[in-house]
Subunit: 419 residues, 2 copies
């Protein structure tokens, strides 16, 4: 494990980790428990005030991890309001996935200890673990540090928490929005981790978002599920789906706005838009930190027979190793886009397809565009952010998916992760 | 295009290209037309005697190439017997895919000229093109050489033909079987090309198989379709499906065996077994020449709820970039196998899964096996040929898929193919 740290992705946001506002009712702590890594933090603890609403979405993998199964059960058992607060405990270095019954017991012990140090029931403590799959994970690996973390909880600790949950990430990922709801200023702030095993159905990713908005748990869960489709579920680094994906949102209600319960209200729509913006920002940062990534690629499909077909085409393009290596090589190889459309399984008519790289019309009517010149495409591909647009010419179906290129960096990182 | 030739794959068959027997009724020629490559052959012409049965299977891509569309139409229009022979003309260097109406006209002109030089109708000439997608392809690029090729047709020319159709292949691929049907010796000999864009639904691959067996066209087509499922459709290099995949078989009937028409006859079963063996040999050679491959990986799934689920799991493992990079790094990272099972969409129960690397029991009952030691797995992964076996513990569904590892070589080849 004495590997040199990976260089920061060239696609990292220029400004670095954003300054996240304090969210009234939420405090963070992080520390180095020594789960696997040396000389870095690897556990975060979050305390959320009583009366908060919490919501979550998780990987649908049939081999999902013990913490994910535990979170699902606890969320399902929650009633709308509670006079007790919530806790979140997350470690990096071991995913506690495929660890059998012992893995379940570890989650029980860890969340019990976190509940004890926070003074809340274990049923209110959500956990996540990220790292290597299938290694035994004794609870003592992290329980020994929880009391210490509880003693240093800090409303300004989000930055440190975001760093503690990183694995192969090359930069911590944060995003924030501020809006006004019925005259009350409301803040949303979140952070995420993830860089490999990022795929259609969630991602190897953990994301935690906090807001001081007052919103019912049902409304929050509904908004979260919807916004996930357009953000985390629309990014793919390598088509591999993690066993640990978890995205949770907690709303403390401290902003004082009238509680949002009706999804059709003006406040609900405004809050949804801001929530989706934060999630999309975080999701794109995952792609920007895609293992080995040097290009951010937006794949936009329009004119498909229906939305499902558009999504199928967009993912076929975004997951194609040949499209992704062409991007890495700055090769305007639109033939590989045609190939991906063809293999997607969506209804397609060669002679109605239109393909653009950015604003450059590359192909139309089943053939290369008469005005297209290879030099144009080659110049376009040198950009760091690319857009591949495909119009199927058939109907109104549309979808957008984000991905990154496939480079030697991906191979180096993943052919050598455990050694 | 002044790139150094790729080194021969370390997985290439040790004996080199096999000595293919003459197939009575079939002659081959190859030559250098200069389609794209310099200093190498790039066109093959095959002449098949009158009375032969021909059969074919092709890519199902919705953006399939002009030659594929033409072959499909011509095969569908054939009647059982014919007093005129057949021809096959194939070029490398340009795939004539996504080339619009002009591409169709090129196929028409090429097959017409091939028919003229062979003295048969164009309706009996099948063609294929492999290489870059989307580049205009004038028929003159190859028609100029066809008369010359017709003049040097040779029953021993299969080796040269196999070389003329290569693209990124690092070795030519051939296979042969001999069997006795009702006292008559029957030979099957074939060759194939393909190395990248190899995927579930056929592959970027061309394969031509010849036999002197007497067999009806209907029986031959039926056997070919069945055997394709267990050979070419069970290999995957990079999950990308070509627009040009074509596999054709021609049976000349010169062996003198009683014609096979009943699929349940003893002769039919013997012939099917030999045909499947040739196709499987060729298909595995494609994987052995997978772009950048250093390991051949057999993924064997048993105990699934049904065959379709088994296939889903096997392909999820075989196409996972994380499983494939782990193999490249000789990392016994069975957690990634668990991940792939989980994302496959197949019914799975963590606590019933069994995973083996070769004969080594790695995981069972939802956890790492108590007897497994990491050193065993690490030693196993150093082998050139690996077997990953997953038993789902649920039912009788089974499937086997072959793939290769994902290495720096794949990136180098594909990030730079057109430049």
């Amino acid at each position: 494990m004495a590997k040199a740290p990976l260089p920061v992705s060239p696609l990292a946001p220029k400004g670095g980790f954003p300054e996240l506002p304090r969210i009234d009712g939420v405090r963070f702590a992080s520390g180095a428990a020594g789960v696997r890594y040396q000389n870095r933090t690897d556990v975060m603890l979050v305390e959320i005030c009583a009366g908060a609403s919490v919501a979550g979405v998780f990987t649908r993998s049939s081999t999902r991890s013990a913490p994910v199964l535990d979170c699902e059960r606890k969320l399902a058992a929650l009633t709308e309001s509670s006079d007790q607060g919530f806790g979140i405990v997350v470690n990096s270095g071991n995913s506690n996935a495929f660890t059998g019954r012992a893995g379940d017991q570890t989650v029980e012990a860890v969340t019990a200890e976190a509940g004890r140090v926070l003074g809340i029931p274990a049923a209110h403590v959500f956990s996540a673990s990220t790292g290597v799959i299938g290694e035994p994970f004794a609870p003592e690996k992290i329980t020994h540090i929880l009391a210490e973390l509880a003693g240093k909880l800090d409303a300004d600790g989000a930055d440190g928490a975001a760093r503690a949950i990183m694995t192969t990430d090359t930069f911590p990922k944060g995003a924030t929005e501020t809006l006004t709801l019925s005259g009350h200023e409301v803040k949303i702030a979140g952070f995420a981790k993830g860089s490999g095993m990022i795929a259609p159905d969630m991602a190897t990713m953990l994301a935690y978002v906090f807001t001081d908005a007052a919103i019912s748990r049902a409304a929050l869960q509904s908004m979260l599920s919807q916004a996930t489709k357009r953000s985390f579920n629309a990014v793919t680094v390598d088509s591999d789906t993690s066993t640990s994906d978890s995205l949770m949102v907690a709303a403390t209600g401290k902003a004082g706005n009238p509680q949002i319960a009706d999804l059709d209200s003006t406040d609900a729509k405004a809050f949804y838009a801001a929530l989706e913006a934060v999630l999309k920002d975080l999701a794109l940062q995952l792609v920007r930190d895609g293992e080995g990534a040097t290009k951010l690629i937006e794949v936009q499909v329009t004119g498909a027979a229906n939305d499902a077909d558009a999504d199928r085409v967009a993912r076929a393009i975004a997951n194609s190793p040949l499209v992704k290596t062409a991007a890495a090589g700055e090769d305007p190889n639109w033939g590989r886009v045609v190939m991906a459309v063809g293999k997607s399984g969506a209804v397609a008519d060669r002679d109605r397809l239109t393909i653009k790289f950015g604003d450059i019309l590359v192909a139309e009517n089943g053939w290369v565009s008469p005005d297209y010149r290879e030099e144009q495409g080659a110049a376009y591909m040198k950009q760091q952010e690319l857009r591949i647009a495909v119009d199927m010419g058939l109907g109104m179906g549309a979808a957008t998916v984000w991905t990154c290129d496939l480079t030697h960096g991906y191979i180096s990182i993943n052919a050598d992760y455990r050694s």
